[in-house]
Each structure stands twice: as C-alpha cells, then as structure tokens.
C-alpha cells in the first residue's frame, strides 16, 4: 500500500474532502533525440574555469545525461542533454590542487538557476521597474547599435568583473575600437590596492604571491586569505602545508585584523587591532625590530622615517598591549622564515599605506616568501571612483558588475541615456537596463583566465550546450556596430606557452601553470602613514561599521545560489539572511540580544537587519557580511536581508583613490519587532548557558 491508497482509505473513513494534491499523473511529454555522446550513466570530466571570484581556479566538471522540459511553441518536449553534475578543482592546477571552495562548487546553481534570463529583452516600463519584454536578438542588437553611434569617449562606461583573460581582452578591444576608456570594476574584491602597492614598492604589475607553505612565522595584517582575499583555495592549501605538511615544523600564524575573520579564527594568535590602525601596527613592529637588528634591505629613507616614529602613539592607535607587540616583533625577528602578509580585506582610507609598510617590513625581515606575480597586461582592472565616472557617462555596459548594489548607484543609473546588461540575471542594476543581452554563462563559454598573480593560464572550451537563447560575449559585442576582433582562446593562449607545451595539451588538461619564483626587490624609497579618515562624527555615530566580503556570497553575486543561502555563515551560523555583528558590550548597553532587529544608521542612510551578538567582535566595531539585500536577483535573493554597502559613505583611499568601504561610522538602535535570525546552530558556546535558550 502506498501513501496515495492509504490516504484514500483515511479520507473515506473520515469523510473528509480530500485535498487531492497527489492525484496528478505525469503527462507524457515526448522526448527529443539527444545530442551525440550523451550516454545514460556514463560520466565525462571536462576542464572549466571558475569565475565566481577573480582567483581563476581551474576546475573540472562532471558531465552526465540529464533531462529537462522545454517548450517549442505550444508543445512541450523532454530533452536529454549533457548536464553538469558537479564541479571539482582541477587536480592538475597548482592553484586549486583539485580542491575548490564552497562558492566555486555552487557555481553550478548559477548555470541551472531557475531565474536565468532566457534571451534578449527590452525595457517595457520605467527605469528600475524591472519590466521587460522578450525581443529577438536582431531587434535588441540593432536598438543598441543605433543608439551607441551618438556616444564616444568618456560618455561610455563599461563595468566588468571579468578576470584577466580572453573576456577582459575582448572587452578591451571593443572599447578601444569604440574609443572609450578602459573597462572598470566596482572596486570591491578586485584587489586594486594590492596591485597598486606592489607596483609602487616593487615595480610589479599584479598582486604578489606569498609562499605561505614554506614560512615558519607568519603575521597576517588585514588579509583574510583563508576567507575571501586573493585566492582562498590556494592559500588554504598552503595553510594546510604550513601547519601540518612538514615534519617537525609547524607554522605559527599571528593574524591582526579588526574583526575575527576565518583567518583570524584559524590563527594561533589574533591581534584585534582598531579599524584603520593596520599601518600603525606594522610601523610599530618595524620600529621595535629596527631597535634590535640592522635595516636589511630597507631603504635608508624608510628606515629613517620608521626610527623617528612615535612608538607610544602608534601602539595607542592600534589598541594592542606593548608587551604583546614586542613579543611578536621578537619572534618575527628571530624566526628562520618570517613572512608578513598584508591585505585590504576591508578597505580603509589608509589601507594602501598598510600594504606598502608591510612590504617594507618584509624587506626589513629579509623574508623570502614574497614572490613576484606573473606580470599582468596593462589592461588590469582599474576601479577608482566609479561613481564619479558614472556621472560623466551617458552609456553604461554591465558585465557581471552590479553598481546599484555595490555602490548604491541606482540614482546615477536612472540618469543615464542607455544601459545594456550582458549578465545572466536580472539583478539590482540590470533592473535599470534598457536592453538585456544575456551572454552565455561562464560554464557554457570558452575562456582563458589568468589566475590572480600565479603563473599560467586556465582554459576552458564549451562542453555543454547553452541552455537558453544566449550568445557568446564576443559575438554580442561584435554585433553592436563596432568593428573589432574578438579574442579567441587559442590565439590568446598559444603565444603564452613555453616550448614544451602544445595548445592541444593545454586544452585537454585545462591550462598550464608555472611556479612563481624570483626575489622581491624594493625600488621605492618612501613610507608614509596617516590617521584613518572616517565618515561621520564620533559623537553622532559612535560605532565603526565594517562591511566585509562574505564567504557565501562574495560581493553579493552568490546570493542567488540556494546552496549558499543555506550554507551556515561561518561567524553567526545564519542562513537565508545575514545579521549585523555587534560586540557583547555594546549589545548589552543597547539591550540587544541575538536575533533582535536593529536599525543601523550612518550619515548616508540606514538599514534594518537582525543582530548577532558576536563574542569576538571588537568593542565599538559593528561588522556585517556583504551579500544580502538585493532588490532584484531572482527568487532566492530578491528582497532578502539588508545590504550593508547601502549605508556606506563614499570615502576614498587617500593614496590610491580606491573605495574605502570600511570607513563609515554608524549608530545602532534596537527595533521592537519579532526576532528573525535564522541560524543553523544558534548556540555558539560549547557549554550552553545553564537553562537558557
């Protein structure tokens, strides 16, 4: 007896009217003849490239037969297609070593997301109303091409998050042909500061590579390299080696960060430095070391400015005990293989100075673990003040970037003449677009991607048919009335290959890689540090506000992946919505408990979200993971939670002009509303409080 029969019996007995939801028989839908090479039960593995962040991990995708239902006219058909079942790291790739982070694995759900755009569309309503009608490719392309003729130069702004590789180069060529400025990114998670610091101090183009696996004593400053900074998979692998991969030596990690990131959580010691005091910490340590040992490769001018620094003031700024700092300086100085890894996971107004100071500290220590990157072409993404650029622009192209979400640019978007989006989804910014020209999903496209800083190139060729009426980005751009040559993967990769590598081989194995090697030679001669600048007066806005790149959603682009929505947040264990993290003391003062709704207000706006009383949050520092709070981004993300970037005031890094999204002050108030934080593990202490929830 099955459930249906049992239910029938029960409903007869009770005489109830059956709510007959299970009575539907599957209609017989004809099955289309499948494409060649799809055999039931047979698996194939194809190399692919992960584009969920800029790290450029090579992956492999498991392809097997799957069935979907499509409509042709009035009729429905079942179609057996090659579908991707799983994405794993490419074992041949030294970046991923066959491993892959959570988000990379969930990229599959962006490919098969039920909310993907099915084909080109045209706006059918006011800006931002997100009403679109399907149109043909010809019509859509023509409408864009016709309008585009009237604009040139600064009037055109192209925002992309394409990593270095064929896509970025194609876009570059398109823009060159259009005589428009180079493409930009929105400035969150694109490591422009890290690039700039490496260029300034070493004269390198690209982000440095850190040899974590061979270091003995590592000081991390502001770089959440296990969470979301640079290439988390690469550094997690290195971290495993660093800890337990070498017989006899176990690496010791000290992490200085103004919030307990994943890296700080895994560190042996955490230095909870005040926000914006990272340069001060590094200079203070340098000063202590200079008292003990010679200046090494440190330029004299730099050594001189360190020696004259006011140590007591520096220590006061970072808020760490002097004794503790002296201990760390001593251990760094005496370690066989010390290494300082500085990054700007949360950008402050003086983050550039911290990165530069860290490079000098490595030089002072004689650290051998800073390796030069594979040089990037000059087209490396510039971000800078995108809002400013948007004001000048009339035409905006969107390729994966979401300025309405990241930069609160909805208003500027409304003022533009033409917005075209190439993304696969109707996101916050695409909602303002005039024309949607969805390009193939990354997993349906060919591409070559240069891993962040690391030597080599990852390559993928299409191995599953596009699901919908989409086109390759190169083809779309080529049909916008501008003559240029789209980049072909083979042509891009072939010249990069050494003699012992053939294109066929590279295509088969998903890329080729080479070890980074070389020495870090300081070429700059100057070190400056400044007090951090914060938006908002301390009297009015007593708390620091730090939005940070979340493990699940990165800069927000992962929010439409159901697996990531359900992944417990590593800090708060929150699912389907992210909380504001408040330290216990502040929470007590404001009578806030975990789950309570709070209003966070800055000079630029306010948001409402549930609170998480974070036992390891710095007193007076409120953090919030980025990712939720999309107005439009499909069924899994739309209208869920709050966007911390929406209340960030526009502060720019003094030295490099990058968006300092961690430099806003806020005030927090409790709201009287039913608690609403969904957590997988509400309990965060091993021995819960006696008798309490």
């Amino acid at each position: 007896m099955d459930r249906r029969n049992f239910f029938k019996i029960v409903s007869t007995v009770s005489g109830a009217v059956a709510t007959n939801a299970c009575g539907d028989k599957k209609p017989l839908i004809p099955l289309l003849v499948p494409e060649n090479g799809i055999v039931l039960g047979e698996e194939q593995w194809h190399p692919a490239v992960c584009t969920e962040c800029g790290a450029g991990c090579s992956t492999i995708a498991r392809v097997m037969a799957g069935e979907r239902v499509i409509e042709r006219g009035e009729e429905k058909f079942r179609e057996r297609i090659a579908s991707i079942k799983k994405i794993e790291g490419n074992p041949l790739d030294p970046v991923s070593g066959g491993r892959l982070c959570a988000r990379g694995q969930a990229a599959l759900q962006s490919l098969y997301n039920p909310d993907r755009l099915r084909g080109p569309m045209r706006r059918n309503g006011t800006r931002g109303e997100a009403k679109f009608t399907a149109v043909s490719w010809d019509e859509a392309l023509k409408s864009v091409a016709d309008k585009l003729k009237a604009y040139s130069g600064d009037q055109i702004l192209f925002l992309t998050n394409a990593p270095q590789g064929t896509r970025a180069l194609t876009i570059q060529r398109f823009l060159e042909a259009l005589k428009a400025p180079p493409a930009r990114s929105c400035g969150i998670g694109d490591f422009a500061l890290e690039r700039k610091a490496a260029e300034t101090v070493f004269g390198w183009r690209g982000v440095p590579v850190y040899d974590l696996a061979n270091a003995h004593y590592v000081l991390g400053v502001g770089a959440d390299f296990l969470g979301g900074w640079l290439s988390p998979v690469y550094y997690s692998r290195q971290f495993g080696e660093f800890r337990q991969g070498r017989g006899g030596v176990r690496g010791h990690l000290v992490q200085a960060e103004s919030r307990m990131s994943l890296t700080a959580a895994s560190a042996d010691e955490w230095l909870p430095v005040r926000p914006g005091s990272e340069p001060h910490l590094i200079v203070a340590l340098s000063r202590m070391l200079l008292d003990e040992k010679p200046a090494g490769q440190l330029p004299d001018a730099v050594a001189q400015s360190i020696r004259t620094a006011d140590l007591a003031a520096l220590i006061r700024t970072c808020g760490i005990e002097e004794k503790r700092l002296r201990g760390i300086a001593h251990e760094l100085g005496t370690s066989e293989a010390p290494l300082v890894i500085a990054g700007a996971s949360v950008v402050q107004s003086n983050s550039f100075e911290a990165l530069a100071a860290a490079h000098y500290l490595n030089a002072l220590l004689g650290a051998r673990g800073v390796l030069p990157p594979q040089p990037e072409p000059p087209s490396a993404p510039a971000s800078g003040n995108v809002l400013e650029a948007m004001k000048r622009a009339k035409v905006l192209f969107l390729d994966g970037e979401n300025p309405a979400y990241v930069l609160r640019a909805a208003q500027s978007l409304g003022a533009l003449d033409l917005i075209v989006s190439f993304g696969s989804f109707l996101d916050d910014s695409a909602a303002y677009a005039d024309v949607l020209l969805p390009a193939h999903h990354a997993l349906e496209s060919e591409a070559a991607v240069v891993p962040l800083g690391l030597g080599g190139v990852a390559v993928t060729q299409p191995f599953v048919r596009p699901l919908y009426d989409t086109r390759p980005i190169g083809q779309i751009l080529g049909q916008l009335g501008v003559a240029f040559e789209a980049v072909n993967v083979k042509d891009y990769v072939a010249p990069m290959l050494p003699a012992d590598q053939t294109w066929e081989n590279v295509g088969r194995q998903g890329g080729y890689w080479k070890q980074n090697s070389g020495e870090a030679k300081v070429t700059a001669k100057e070190l400056k540090w400044s007090e951090p600048v914060f938006a908002g007066k301390p009297e009015e806005f007593p708390l620091h506000f730090q939005p940070y790149l979340s493990l699940q959603f990165h800069d927000g682009r992962g929010a439409n992946l159901p697996w990531m929505q359900e992944l417990p947040d590593p800090v708060s264990s929150a699912m389907w919505g992210l909380p504001v993290e408040i330290d216990p003391k502040t929470a007590e003062k404001l009578k806030i408990a975990t789950g309570d709704w709070v209003r966070v207000e800055s000079g630029s706006g306010h948001l409402e979200a549930p609170a998480y009383v974070h036992p390891a949050a710095l007193p007076g520092v409120v953090s919030m993971p980025i990712g939720e709070g999309h107005t439009h981004y499909g069924r899994y993300a739309s209208g869920r939670g709050a966007n911390p970037l929406a209340i960030v005031s526009p502060v720019w890094d003094g030295a490099a002009g990058e968006f300092a999204f961690g430099a806003t002050r806020v005030r927090v108030a409790k709201l009287e509303r039913k608690p609403a934080l969904i957590q997988f593990s509400p309990q965060d202490r091993e021995q819960g409080p006696w008798g309490e929830r």
């Binding site: 709510t19 309990q683 006696w690 008798g691 929830r693």
Partner: protein, 430 residues
C-alpha cells in the same frame, strides 16, 4: 424489574438532547482531528512542527499520556479486585472501559507520528516473503508487542464481567440491540458453573493484567531510557512511568465517574464514599509521584554532569521552566492541599484535583520528552519547539474522541456492573 436495574438501564434507553448536545460537537472535533491527520498524510509529516533536534514531541507526549490514562482502569480495577475492596464494585466497569479506549487512542499515536504511516505494518512482527523480521532489539518493537498484548488483555478483562449483564439485557432489549447483546452474551445462561468459571477467570485475568500493565508502561518508559540522550538514560523511568500512569489513570477515573454520575443520574450508586476512597488513592499516588520526581531531578542536579545539567537547567529555570513548575503545582501542591486536608476533601475538590493532575501529567510527559531532545549533547545542534495547528488539532481531537467513545459505550452497555453491584438471581444448578 427492580429499581437498581431500572436505574442502571435507564441510560441505555432513549437519547436525551443533552446527550446529543455533548456527543455531536465532540464528534465534530474528532472529525476535525481526522481531517488534520489526513492533511498530514497528504502533505508530509512536516506539517507537524517537529524538527531537528526535537524529532519527537506532541504525538509522543500524547502517546505516553494516553497509555498512562489506560492504567486507570485495568490496573486499578485489578488491584481492587485482588484486594477485594468492596467499594470498587460500581467503579470497575467505568475504569476498565477507560483502559480500552485510552489504549486504542494511545496506540494510534505511534502510527500518526510515523514519517510514512502507510507502511506502519512493517513494524508488525511477522516474517515477510524475504524472511525479514523487524528488529527485536528496538524498544519500539517491545512497545508494539506490549501494547497489543495489553489491548487484547484489557479488552478481555472488560468483556468478561460484561457477559452476565449483556445476557440480562438480551432478554429485555429489542431490535438490533437484542441481536448485539445476544451475540455478546456468548450463550450465557447464568448457571453456577458459569458463574464459578467467570469468577475464576476474573481472578486470573486480574493477576495477568496487573503484570502486563506494569510491564507496558515500563516498556513505554524504556523507549526513552534505553536512549543515551541526557536525562532519558535513567533507571528510574520504569517505575516512575508506572506510578505516573496510575496517577493519571485515577484522575481520569474520578472525572469519568463524576461525569457519569451527573449525566446519568447515578448519584445513588456513585456515592461520596467512592469518591473519597479514590481521592485518597489519588493523594497517595501524588505523593509517590513527587517522590519519584524529586529522586529523578535531585540525582541529576547532585551529579552535576554537564550534558544532563543543560537539560535540567532548561527544565527548571530555562525555556521550559513555566511548564515544569506548573506541572509540580498541578501534580503535587493542588492535590496535596485539596485532598490532604480532610476538611477540604469532597467530590468537588476531587474533581478539581483530577483536572489539574491530568494537565500536570500531560505536561510531565512533555517535560520528559521535549527538553531532552532540544538539548542534545552537542550544543551546536540545540533547537527549540512549538506545536503546529495540526499537532494541536490531533491532540485536542483525541480528548474529544475519548469522550465520544465513552459516551457511546455508556449508551450501549451499563457503565456500572449490575451483577457485581446487585448479584443476579442465580439460576439453580440443574
């Protein structure tokens, strides 16, 4: 026909509007419960608010509660029979009927709570074509065996002393009732041999049923105490559950008798004397219950084992404290004051105490099941629980069902054993 018989037969004849006024709304509630269950079967067990880690809640609470109530009867009547307490006579049938119906209701809950109720029969121990047996190591299997044995036993125990009465009724009834009574009378003629056999059978059954009843509730207790969950894994649970069962059983019996007394105008037969005796019994059980409750909690508190203390804390001063202390008040303080002070002891106070004891004992099962499950060993898995409308509906419906079944029984059979109360005229041995 004598007065006694007329009085006791009166309820069987005719149906008053008051009877229907009670029966019909309660039948609707029962029906609503069945609809809720149908909805649950259709949509999935998820419409109940159970979740990880509280995988068992209302349905299991109801299960233990009703199995507890079932001890009203059989156990009490069996004890009183064996001890030859003469005052028991008008009480026994009312008690035994409670047992059978409470068991029928309680026995449904293990099925209601299954994720896939439509294959409940996989639990029944018979070898299928693959010679696969159920797992006899599982306490749930013991449960199944114990409860079915108990149901059969208590049905017989109810039925045997009913035979002389239905034989009497068969002589006077008309229509379909006559047919029913005659079939049930099993050809009873009232000979001395039959009387003798009946009395011996009752003695024997009383002994057997006593053992079965004790073991049944012990086995129900073992569902919990065999598990290694904090505060479940306790040796006290067997006797504790048995005591609790008798306790709630007596309360149910007092209530049932009060209702019968009132609605069927049997004041003459169910006298304050009966209530007084039962009230004393209730008081005794209340004292026993508090003794066990203190033993259970004191040992945990004194032992101070962290995982157990989490549950203990949640019970006594955390989320579940209001329920815990209500339970203590209901099960101990109220009966202790109302029934312990002789001046206060009356039919009314016995009824009040019975109501609070039933509430308290339902809460006791809730307090045993839910706090333990919501505080598993690993704090990362802690959770909470509140019931859904489906669980509440089904729970409420079972109370209605109990009353409906009881009323229907009382309409068909004399709720007071006539022959015991007033011995039948014996047909002389030929």
């Amino acid at each position: 026909m004598d007065d006694v018989r007329r009085d006791l037969w009166r309820p069987l004849q005719g149906t008053s509007w008051r009877y229907l006024a009670v029966l019909l709304p309660l039948s609707m509630v029962t029906l609503w419960g069945l609809i809720a269950w149908g909805y649950q079967l259709d949509r999935g067990i998820g419409v109940a608010n159970i979740r990880r880690p509280v995988f068992w809640a209302f349905y299991l609470v109801d299960f233990v509660f009703w199995i507890g109530i079932s001890h009203a009867g059989t156990l009490i009547s069996a004890i009183l029979r064996l001890t030859e307490a003469e005052w028991r006579k008008p009480v026994t049938r009312a008690a035994e009927a409670i047992t059978v119906f409470a068991l029928m209701i309680g026995g449904m809950f293990p099925i209601i709570h299954l994720g896939r109720a439509w294959i409940f029969y996989w639990l029944i121990p018979y070898p299928n074509t693959r010679l696969l047996w159920p797992n006899f190591r599982s306490p749930l299997m013991w449960d199944l065996c114990a409860i079915s044995t108990y149901l059969i036993g208590s049905s017989i125990f109810l039925f045997l002393p009913l035979i002389p009465d239905v034989a009497q009724l068969a002589r006077h009834a008309k229509g379909w009732r006559r047919w029913v009574y005659r079939k049930l009378a099993l050809g009873w003629t009232g000979s001395d041999r039959e009387w003798h056999a009946l009395e011996r059978a009752m003695k024997l059954m009383a002994g057997i049923i006593l053992a079965v009843a004790v073991s049944v509730h012990t086995v129900v207790a073992w569902d919990f105490s065999m598990a290694i969950a904090p505060m479940w894994h306790s040796t006290i649970f067997g006797p504790y559950f048995v005591v609790g069962a008798i306790f709630s059983g007596i309360a149910a019996l007092i209530l049932a008798m009060a209702v019968i007394r009132r609605t069927m105008h049997l004041e003459q037969y169910l006298t304050p004397h009966h209530f007084n005796n039962l009230a004393k019994l209730l008081l005794l059980m209340s004292l026993l219950w508090v003794y066990f409750t203190v033993s259970e909690n004191l040992t945990v508190w004194y032992g101070n084992e962290p995982k157990e203390m989490m549950v203990f804390g949640a019970r006594t001063r955390g989320t579940f404290a209001p329920y815990f202390w209500t339970m203590v008040v209901c099960n101990f303080f109220i009966p202790f004051v109302l029934l312990g002070i002789r001046k206060l002891r009356s039919i009314q106070t016995a009824i009040i105490s019975s109501v609070t004891v039933l509430i308290g004992m339902w809460l006791e099962r809730f307090i045993i099941i839910v706090p333990t499950l919501s505080r598993p060993r690993l704090a990362a898995a802690w959770g909470s629980y509140s019931p859904s409308w489906v669980e509440i509906s089904i729970t409420v419906a079972t109370f209605a069902t109990m009353v409906v079944l009881y009323l229907m029984f009382a309409k068909l059979f004399p709720i007071i054993s006539i022959w015991e109360f007033k011995p039948h005229d014996r047909v002389p041995e030929r």
